[in-house]
Symmetry: C2
Subunit: 324 residues, 2 copies
């Protein structure tokens, strides 16, 4: 199967919103008046972002999900994406599965595949996603103010816990591992929540490299500091859905590590003024996404971790860095 047959069979579909989709030198989008275009690119490399042998359907899902998560963090509505794919060979069952997982998530968000590239090479998936947001309404990292509440959506730390278990560094009950692995391999981009937080959140980003490291980006961009209650964050591991007996099997230090600096969460971390508490709760409800307050923005720079009684927690947690 040649390159163009491959594109035709798996990645060419009629577009509805884009002015022109796959098949010319460029795709053409027609942005609505008054809209800004949000753009983000993510590259996933085998052995780095996913194991060799990962279910291609899940990989297709995840490759787009991590990009949609960036749109969510800006409060942008998904429009379209391009897919560039380097493949060791034109493996049809793999491609069929990958395309199924990818396009299913794309359809769920009305995000059209409009173009891209395929080539032979070590497995590498690069997606660029495009979304739209009314001019001036994008959620940025720079708007956090002292006194703002800090929230996280969904659950934290499960992806990292699954990784620890799959690599033999932690033992998990099978059901728990299955649930954690689901979060590692099929993250949920919080697009609806991002849209609902326009005009509500003062800052936002998506948690991809670990909560504390990512929160650091908000703090630096906003010129503020923060206090985080680790008795709240440790509860955000999906573990809380499991019996306390299972929970007790895991070293609490590992749970802190996973929730505070795990990575691969693809949840939103955001801030909002205390006056917005009811609105945040309504946004969470409307978007069907749980959100949990985990701390507060302070004027003094730096990140302060406290326990449930407000006492300082000494431990330091390193965020994920591909080149550190």
């Amino acid at each position: 199967m040649g390159e163009f047959d491959l594109i035709a069979r798996y990645f060419t579909r009629p577009v509805r919103r884009a002015a022109l989709g796959v098949g010319d030198d460029c795709a053409l989008l027609a942005p609505a008046p008054g809209m800004q275009l949000a753009v983000s690119s993510d590259m996933l490399v085998q052995g780095r972002h996913f194991f060799a042998g990962t279910d291609p359907k899940r990989l297709g899902h995840k490759a787009l999900a991590v990009n949609l998560s960036d749109l969510a963090a800006c409060g942008a509505r998904p429009l379209a994406f391009t897919l560039a794919l380097a493949l060791p060979s034109a493996d049809e069952p793999w491609l069929a599965g990958f395309a199924r997982g990818l396009l299913r998530l794309a359809d769920a968000h009305g995000c059209e595949l409009v173009g891209g590239d395929t080539t032979r090479g070590p497995l590498n998936i690069c997606i660029t996603v495009l979304g739209e947001v009314p001019a001036g309404q994008a959620l940025l990292r720079s708007g956090a103010r002292p006194g703002d509440d800090i929230y996280v959506s969904g659950t934290l730390g499960d992806a990292r816990l699954a990784l620890e278990a799959l690599q033999g560094r932690a033992a998990l009950p099978p059901l728990w591992l299955a649930a954690a692995r689901e979060r590692l391999e099929r993250p949920t981009p919080r697009v609806a929540l991002g849209l609902a937080l326009r005009g509500v959140a003062s800052s936002a980003l998506d948690v991809s490299d670990g909560l504390l490291g990512d929160l650091g980006h908000i703090l630096r961009a906003s010129g503020v500091g923060a206090r985080i209650d680790t008795s709240k964050t440790i509860e955000l591991i999906a573990a809380s859905a499991y019996p306390a007996s299972a929970r007790g099997m895991i070293d609490p230090e590992l749970l802190h590590q996973c929730t505070l600096a795990g990575g691969d969460d693809y949840e939103l971390a955001f801030t909002a003024a205390p006056a917005q508490r009811a609105t945040v709760a309504a946004a969470a409800q409307a978007s069907g996404t749980p959100v949990t307050p985990i701390g507060v923005i302070e004027a003094a720079p730096g990140l302060r971790l406290v326990d449930g009684r407000g006492q300082p927690v000494a431990q330091r947690f390193a965020s994920f860095d591909h080149f550190a």
Copy 2:
């Protein structure tokens, strides 16, 4: 050097036209009213699209050039691009060179680096470029009509000839090899010509996989056929700038192969009605880009090669296919 330092040092610059550049979850673009957005992604893999050890400055140039060439083929004006980069290691001299070549070409076209991704992995460069074109004015592959002239910009076949020489399958005089290699490693995206051809060309694309194969895309999309004069195309190799004595050193069959099915040319192939001949010449002049008529669109499907006397040329030329 960590991932974020690396991005900050080499790939973060203030944006002038984009509403938001590198440093948030998404970049933000503000398209002008009435404009459509043209989008294209290309992925370059070491060992496939370039040799290990290629001068990083040239590689930076080429990685963006092949994307700008797609915008040129649509008649779109470059706006912005994202860069996703997988690197075996954070090699600073390599990064400095790559960034220099990349950003120099970007600056020459007013195309801003607004975002991207860096990760560790086998060397892979994925660029997504964004341009704008007035709604309805994009040059497409589907507009060629019987009787239209077929043109090619610049020169053809030099990149392939350089590849043949570098891989020991052809011998070239040193000066000729240097010139051909320049075309392989530093292609010139024909952006100004693409802009000048809006409203003039009936169809266009960029020649990246070889003239005949790429022309086939126009023929299929337009539901037409074509006759190509190979006595014209063989003259398009930059060889014509060299003494006839040097030219005679090369097997004419190889020159036909390189010009008709070489690949990596990044020239524009386009069609225009005979009534547009003076306008095409003016567009070429205004954009400082030579264009050469090489044939004519015909109603009968298929691609017919003829020699200088109009006699059929039997040989078939295969276009480049990453998975064939």
